[in-house]
C-alpha cells in the first residue's frame, strides 16, 4: 500500500508503484490542473511539489516533473498539485503576480509555472530573482516569450521580501501564498502510517528521470524496485580530503551542499547547465552513471575528478573501481545483474588544483550537450603536476582522456603545451554526426572547450588569442 498526502487528502492506494505520479493525479484523482505536455520531463506542464519531513520533523518542498516520477516515490510525502495551492475564492499571491503581468495566455503551461513559483516561496532558498528563475528553469511556455513571466517573478520576489524565515509557513499562509491546511501537513505526515510498502519490483528505479523517458511503457503497469529512499545510498560526507557521495544522492543535494560549494566555487554555475531544477531534484548520480549515455553531464563531471565507485551486490559484498574503467563500450559497463552502485568517492580539489565544467548545447539550459567536458588540473610552480580531462559526446562512452591527461603531467602551463595536448586530445576522440551536431563541429567544439578550461581556470594567463591564429 502506497500512502501519501495529496494536497489535503490522505491517499492509500494499491496502484502499481511504477505508474507515473502524473497519471495517478490526473486520471485516478481527476486533478486535471496538472497537464501533459511531453511525458519526458522537458516541458514542466506536469510540475508538482513534493514535501518531505526531515529528521527534525521540518518539512521541505521541492518541485518535480510528475510525468517521469514513479508513484511509489510519493510514499510518505506531501504531494501538491496546482489545485492544492488554490485558496478558496481568490487567487494566491503567486497567481495574482501572474495575472497582473499577463503571464498566462493559452494557460496550458500555467499551472506548472504556478506550482514552480509556489515551490520557490516555500523553499529555504534565498528569495532572489535569479533563484526564482532557477525554479522555472524546467517550465516551457510557447506563448508569452517569458517576459511577462519574468515580471511576475519579480513581483513574487518583492512580495517575499519581508517573509519571516523563522515561521515561514505562518507568514506564507497569512500572505496568501498557500492555503492554511499546509500548517497541519507536518503533523499529518508524521501520523501517516508509513511502514514501507514492498520495494520489490521488475526494475531498479531511483529518480526515474532516464528510465521513464526511455521505457515508461515497460514500467507503468508494474511494481518497480524503488531505491531513492534507501539511506545507505544517500548523503554526502567529507573526511579529510576525501568526499564520498551516495549514488542515490540527487543533483540538487550536491547543489545545496554548503561545504562542497566552497571546494567548487562555481558549482552552482556548473550544475545550472545540468537539466532543470525539477529534474535535478529527482536525478541521482548512480542513475546518470548506469544510463551510460556518452554525454551524461554528471558522469563527465565525476570522471574528471578521477572518482572511484563502490559497487554493492545482493550478498552485501562490495567492490571498488575507478569510474574511468567502468565503461566498456556503447551503453555497456561493468555491472552485474545483482549489483548496484553504492557510492562515489573522489579527492577534493585543493588550493593547487582547479576544476572546471563546460557544456555547449543548442539551448544552454535543459538540453543535452553537443559536447561537454570537465577538467581538474593541479599546478605547482607553473608546472602541471596532475591533470584529468573528460569529454562527452565525442566517443561511444563518456570519455576519460587517458593520454591527454597523462601528456600534460609534468608539462609547464604554457600555450605551447596546451596546444600540443589539444592534438593528443583529438586523437583520443572520434565523434559521430547526429542530431546534436556534425562530427566536424564536435571536434572543433571539443578543441574550443579544451581551451576554455584553461581560459576559465587561469584567466590572467590565457586568452583566446593564445590558442587561435586568425583575426
Amino acid at each position: 500500500m502506497i500512502q501519501f498526502i495529496l494536497n489535503n487528502k490522505i491517499i492509500k492506494t494499491t496502484a502499481n508503484s511504477g505508474m507515473t505520479l502524473l497519471d495517478f493525479v490526473r486520471y485516478e484523482q481527476r486533478l486535471t490542473g496538472t497537464k501533459i505536455g511531453c511525458r519526458e520531463g522537458d516541458c514542466g506542464a506536469c510540475t508538482l511539489l513534493v514535501g518531505t519531513l526531515d529528521e527534525n520533523e521540518d518539512i521541505a518542498y521541492h518541485s518535480i516533473t510528475s510525468c517521469i516520477s514513479p508513484l511509489g516515490n510519493a510514499h510518505g510525502k506531501h504531494i501538491v498539485t496546482v489545485e492544492g495551492t488554490n485558496l478558496k475564492d481568490k487567487l494566491t499571491t503567486v497567481q495574482n503576480a501572474m495575472k497582473d503581468n499577463y503571464a498566462t495566455q493559452c494557460g496550458f503551461c500555467t499551472p506548472g509555472f504556478v506550482v514552480s513559483l509556489t515551490g520557490f516561496a516555500l523553499s529555504n532558498s534565498e528569495k532572489k530573482y535569479d533563484t526564482a528563475l532557477d525554479t522555472i528553469s524546467g517550465n516551457i511556455c510557447r506563448c508569452t516569450g517569458y517576459k511577462s513571466i519574468e515580471r511576475a517573478a519579480h513581483q513574487v520576489c518583492e512580495k517575499l521580501e519581508f517573509s519571516n524565515t523563522k515561521m515561514p509557513f505562518t507568514w506564507l499562509v497569512k500572505n496568501n501564498f498557500i492555503p492554511d491546511y499546509f500548517m497541519d501537513i507536518p503533523k499529518q505526515l508524521k501520523q501517516l502510517h508509513t511502514e514501507n510498502p514492498s520495494k520489490k519490483g521488475i526494475k531498479i528505479v531511483s529518480g526515474g528521470t532516464d528510465l521513464y523517458v526511455q521505457k515508461a511503457d515497460d514500467l507503468i503497469e508494474h511494481n518497480v524496485h524503488l531505491i531513492s529512499d534507501n539511506n545507505a545510498l544517500k548523503g554526502i560526507s567529507i573526511k579529510g580530503n576525501i568526499c564520498t557521495i551516495g549514488a542515490g544522492t540527487t543533483v540538487s543535494e550536491l547543489w545545496n551542499h554548503t561545504e562542497l560549494n566552497t571546494y567548487f566555487p562555481k558549482l552552482k554555475t556548473h550544475l545550472k547547465l545540468v537539466s532543470s531544477e525539477q529534474i535535478r531534484n529527482m536525478a541521482s548520480f548512480g542513475g546518470n552513471f548506469v544510463n551510460a549515455s556518452p554525454i551524461g553531464d554528471m558522469t563527465i563531471f565525476f570522471l574528471a575528478l578521477n572518482s572511484d565507485i563502490t559497487i554493492l551486490n545482493s550478498n552485501g559484498n562490495e567492490r571498488t573501481l575507478a569510474l574511468k574503467h567502468f565503461y566498456k563500450s556503447y551503453k555497456t559497463f561493468d555491472l552485474q545483474e545483482d549489483e548496484l552502485i553504492k557510492t562515489i568517492r573522489f579527492k577534493l580539489p585543493t588550493r593547487a588544483s582547479h576544476f572546471n565544467f563546460e557544456k555547449v548545447s543548442k539551448r544552454t539550459h535543459l538540453d543535452i550537450a553537443s559536447v561537454n567536458s570537465a577538467a581538474h588540473i593541479s599546478v605547482e610552480n607553473g608546472t602541471i603536476s596532475e591533470a584529468h580531462f573528460a569529454f562527452g559526446g565525442v566517443y561511444e562512452i563518456p570519455r576519460y582522456l587517458h593520454k591527454t591527461s597523462e601528456f600534460l603531467n609534468g608539462k609547464s602551463l604554457t600555450p605551447t603545451s596546451i596546444l600540443q595536448a589539444q592534438d593528443v586530445m583529438q586523437d583520443e576522440i572520434s565523434p559521430i554526426s547526429d542530431v546534436r551536431g556534425s562530427s566536424d563541429y564536435k571536434r572543433l567544439l571539443a578543441r574550443q572547450l579544451f581551451f576554455a578550461h584553461f581560459m576559465e581556470l587561469f584567466p590572467s594567463q590565457f586568452t583566446l588569442n593564445d590558442f587561435i591564429q586568425h583575426a
Binding site: T81, V82, T104, G107, F108, T110, P111, G145, K147, A452
Partner: protein, 774 residues
Amino acid sequence: MHKNKSHSDLDIKKSQVKASLKQSVKNIDSYTHLRGESLYVDDVNVREGTFLAVVFDAPIAHGKIKSIDYSEAEALAGVERIFTYKDIPGDNQIGGIIQDEPLFAEQDIHFWGQPIALIVAKTELIARQARRLIKIDFEELPVITMAKDAKDKGSFINAARSFNLGNTDRAFANCDYIFEGETFSNGQEQLYIEAQGSYAEPLENGTIKIISSTQGPTAVQKTAASVLGLPMHKIEVDVTRLGGGFGGKEDQATPWAVMAALATYHLKQSVKLVLNRHDDLRMTGKRHPYESTYKIGLSKDLKILAYEVEFLQNSGAAADLSPAIAERTLFHATNSYFVKNVKSTVYSCKTHLPPNTAFRGFGGPQGMFVIESAIAKAASEIGVSARKIQEANLLQENDEFSYGQIAKQVEAQNSWNAAKTIFNLKELERDVEDFNKNNKAFKKGLALMPITFGISFTNTQMNHARALVHIYQDGSVGVSTAAVEMGQGVNTKMLQIAAQVFSIDKTKVKIETTNTTRVANTSPSAASSTADLNGKATLKACELLLERLKEVASEDLKVSKETITLKEEYVYVDAKKTALTWTALIFKAMAKRVALTENAHYATPEIHFDKTKEKGHPFAYHVYGTAIVITTVDCTRGTYEFDTVKVVHDYGKSMSEGIDLGQAEGGLAQGIGWMTMEEIAYNDKGKLLSNALSTYKVPDVFSVPKNVEILPLETESSELAILKSKAVGEPPLMYGIGAYFAIQNAIKAFNPNYKLKFHAPMTPEKVLMSLYES
C-alpha cells in the same frame, strides 16, 4: 543634448506603457488558468465506457503497402477494434484546398508518420501495445526531402504563381550593383504545449458531437461529415479553448477529430484520441522550409531598382494549406520596402515530408528572410551597413505593392524613425563598435528589422464572421462567435466589446464556447484576423440590441430615443442619470416581447483580389514596426545571447495593451527561436530526427533576450481594425528575423574571412563553424 532628450522621451514612453498595462484589461481566463481549472480536451469528463485511441502510422516515407497483418494486435485483450480506410463510409479525403490527402493511407505511403489505421482500446497503453503488434510489409520507393530535388523531378502541388511589378529585365540593365544568391530557411514545429486531441461522443439520431482542439471548427465539421457520409448538421463541433495553436491546429487538428468521430460512428461509444508528443511531432506538418534564389539590383544611392526571387516551398506530401502559404510569401516578398520592379515566383514542391502547414506568419516570414538576406549580401559587397540599404528603400505613402494594392496610412518610415530616435540607434551602434574593438573572446552584433504585414485572409471569401449575442432576462449576456481562444486573448476582446457597447460590468458578459451549432460556416481563427472579423460582428450585434433597448427606454421614459444613452448599467437621458437600471430595462424589454437576441454577420469591405491577374487589394490594412536586435556571441564556444530587442510597433489604438504586448513578446520569441535554436532535422529517408522535446529545443526563460522593450507607435490606425485596435498575432514574429543578421554581424566582427551565409536557423554549430572558417 540630443542624447538627453531622447533618453527622457524613452523614459516617458516606458512609464506610459507601464501605466497603460496596469489599467489594461486582464485576460478573462486568468482566474481558471492560474488555478488549473480551465478545461482542455483531455480534461473533459468523459462518458462511462469511453475508448481511447492511438494512430498506427507509416514507418517509411514513400512506398507501397504490400500487406498489413492486424491479427495479433486485434487479438490483444482490451483492443476493441482497428479502423482503416475500409471502414470509411464516405470519402477517404481530408484535403482542404486541394483534395489530395486521404485520412488513412490505402496502398500508397507518402510520408513517414502518415496515418494508416486507428487502434481503439480500453486504455491508451493497450492501444499503444497493440500498435507494436501490427506487421506491415511494404515496398520502399525513392524519397524526396528537399524542395529543389522535387522541382528537378517536376513534383509539384499545383502550378507556380508569380507576382510581378514593372520590368526587372530592363531595370537590371540600369543597376550599378547586381548581386545574386541563395537562401534556406528551415521549418519550425508549432509546439503548442497541448498536443493535438479530440473527443467524440454519440448523441441521438446518429449525431456525433466532437470536442476538438482546433482553430477551425467548421473544417472539422465539414471534413467529418464528408468522411462519414453525413450531412453537416449531424456533426456538432465544440471548442472551449486550445493550449496553443500557432497555426498548427488550423488544418491539422482535423484528422484526429475525424478519426475519433469515425470510431464513434461505428462503435456508438465515445472515443478519445489525444496524441502523445512523439506521435504529434512525427505525424504533423510544420512551418515550410524554403529554398530560395534571388537577384537584387541597386543604384549607386542604394535604391533597390529590381528584385527577382524564386521561392521553392517544401510543401510536404500533400497540399494542406501550402498554396495559400505560398501566396502569402509572394505578398511579403519585399517586406517593408518599395521596389519598382519585382518578379517573384513560388513553387509549391511536393516532397515526402509530412504535409507542411500554417505557422504564425504563414509564409510571410520565409519571404522576408530572403529580401533581408539579399540586402545583407548587397551591403556586405558594397561595403555599407545593411541599415543604409534598408533605410533608403522604406515603403512610402501611395507606393504600389507588387500585387497592385496601393499602400495607404503607411507607417514604415515612421516606425523606423521612431525606433532610431527613441532608442538612440547611433549610440547603440557606437557601443557595439566600441565593445568589439575592446573584446576578443566576445563580439556583439546589431541588426534592424522593419516589418510590414498585411491583414486579412488573402483568400477574400474567407473574410467574414458572425456573432450570436443573447441578453438573458436577468441582464446577463452570452456571446458566441466563430473565434477560437488559444491564448491570443480574443475572448477578452469580444467581452470588452459587448461590455463597452452595453456599458455593463464585465462580469455580466460571458463568452461561450465556439460551437458550430451556434455559429456556422466559420473561417478558422487564423491570419491575425480573428478579433477584427468576430469583433466587428459582435459590435454589430450588440449595437443592434442597444438600439432596440433604447427604444424600450424611450417608450418607458417617454423621451425621444436620441436623448438616451446607457452608462454603467443605468439609462441616461440627455446625459442625466435616471432610475432605470440595466436589469430593469431588460425586464421591461422582455415584458414588451422585444427580441433580446441578435445574430450579426460581418464581411470585410473594400478587399478583393483577382488571381488571374495576381492584382487587387487583398488586405484590409497593414501592420508596421521596426526592431533593433543586439546579440553577444561567445567566440570561444560559439554560443550567443540576446542583449536586447527594442521595438516600435504599430498596434493602432490598442484596446487591450497587456494582451497585445503579450502577443508581441511571444511572437518575437518564436521568431528568434525559428532563426536560432529550433532545428527540424529529417534524415535522407524522410524520418524525423528532431522527434522529441529532448532533440527539438524551443526558447526557455534563459534564452529569450535579456531585455525587451516594445513601445507603441502613435498611429491613426484603420477603420477596418476592431475599434481601431490593429491585428497583432502574427506580425511581431518577424522581428525575430533580425536575430539571424545580428549574430551574423557579430561573426563578421570576429572572423574577417567569414563568407556570408543565409541558412537559417543559426544554431551554435553554425556559429562556431563560421567563427573558425578560413
